[in-house]
Symmetry: C2
């Protein structure tokens, strides 16, 4: 089975390493040359056309909807060089509405299409334990499943084309609100002069427990801003979620507020920091750092 893999960023690079390590023949492309040069078992190529020619499965892992559209349908795009019966698997997190249109155009050219965004961040990509949310036909998923199994642990067919992207947006809505929940709990705890580590431990034992509290809570307390998942990418995903909500006339009041908090973080230079950095929005809102400095 021959794989064309397009997009070798923070997520794509560890993912393609795992695909190559599983023994698939891989042609790997990124707009930035050289990224795949030192990876054993794959062939770096310098054009989308080379990555795609003769491939049974074409995987895209790109930052946003516009990137995917350009790679699929732009000049030297996938659609110009792909085998007529190839499967395009878009693992980027992009608009579910645009996804349905992309799938239609690929199908019109004879190909098949799956949307298969992932959850689990860079660490999940490195360990090959991503959670993969798939939209499309079960037969198509069964065809690409061996490849996806080299990338992810839980592979779930959520529904038809676009359903994978839809589920990813629901995931991001919950994730972002859960992060804000931890931030607000900590902001109140700080204001009440409670020990944050004690409060974190108590909350983790009961109904306030969350993956985000368990994993980002300690980083908020220690001031570790390292990015598993960047603020800027969450802002992109929340934008897609609110766009989808708007198109369906679904008010999401909490998510809308949390999105504004993320924008505050962007405005204060936190774009490249991890999501746990959202807690500093509350430090700025409450001005406690400045108050302490002035003491």
């Amino acid at each position: 089975m021959r794989i064309g893999f397009i997009g070798l960023g923070a997520m794509g690079l560890p993912m393609v390493k795992n695909v190559a390590a599983a023994g698939f023949e891989v042609m790997a492309y990124d707009a930035v040359p050289g990224r795949a040069d030192s990876i054993p078992g794959l062939t770096p190529v310098t054009t989308v056309g080379e990555a795609v020619a003769g491939a049974d499965i074409i995987i895209t892992m790109l930052p946003n909807t516009g990137n995917v559209e350009a790679v699929l349908f732009g000049s030297d795009g996938v659609i110009g060089s792909m085998s007529p019966d190839a499967v395009v698997v878009d693992m980027s997190s992009i608009s579910p509405i645009a996804t349905r249109k992309f799938a239609e155009r690929i199908r019109a050219a004879g190909g098949r299409y799956l949307d298969a965004p992932v959850s689990g961040g860079v660490s999940g990509a490195e360990s090959g334990k991503l959670s993969i949310m798939v939209g499309g036909e079960i037969e198509t998923l069964d065809f690409v499943r061996p490849v996806l199994q080299s990338i992810g642990k839980a592979i779930t067919l959520v529904g038809g084309v676009g359903a994978g992207q839809g589920a990813k947006l629901c995931n991001q809505v919950v994730v972002a609100c859960n992060i804000a929940a931890v931030c607000e709990g900590f902001a109140l705890a700080s204001a009440l002069d409670l020990d944050l580590e004690t409060v974190r431990t108590v909350l983790a034992q009961g109904a306030a427990q969350s993956w985000m509290g368990d994993n980002l809570g300690p980083k908020m307390i220690s001031g570790d801003d390292s990015a598993g998942f960047r603020i800027a990418l969450q802002v992109k995903d929340l934008g897609l979620a609110l766009e989808a909500a708007k198109s369906e006339s679904v008010p999401l009041p909490a998510t809308s507020v949390v999105n504004s908090l993320y924008l505050e973080a962007m405005a204060h230079g936190e774009a490249a920091n991890g999501n746990q950095s959202l807690h500093r929005v509350y430090e700025r809102l409450t001005n406690r750092t400045i108050a302490q400095e002035e003491q």
Copy 2:
């Protein structure tokens, strides 16, 4: 060791059962007569004075700050009948600010005071596995610990008097936001015609996981409104959290919005339903139920 237990409601009754079952001598009082009549191993009494006279430890488990104030300091109040060196353990969830004042008055009368609110709901109270957040002196906690161990599993001294109530409010902030997170994820999933159980399962496997998603998510999907923890009590707790936030000038934007959503639930008759009923706020906001009925 003799215990005076005041407040035999949905939480207090299973708690006092466990205290009595552990072999402590218990005098039990509630404003509603008869509630403790059929419970083995305890003595029902008809006044606060009888519950408190000669007690080493006085436990209160009451709905709100005003109730605690009235029971402690009103006519036939605790302070009029308690032994001079008794310990008052208030396990209600009430204002941390009022708590500090109550403790001061009890100390001025010679007694000791702990605030020890709980998390874990009616099921935790029945199984004796509540999480107990304690504010006060470690020596006082050590004195009452054998009794608390009959009620709860995790007993944490968070800080001085009021710190238990403070931690409980932080807990409720996180809990309420996590519930809203699940509701918003489901609202978007419904609008995108995704299967809710599939989305729930996918989200529970990754970074969107939370105790609330695991425990209330299935009830939202099945339409089970049964109350482990009532909407009205969450509204009370969020009111206390926002009051504390106001007094410390801490903006809690997400919690404030979630509080408004809970008020919408109150306005539509959900007060006695469980917290999972918050999901119906979104059905009303998006009018999907009505839209479906009209089809």
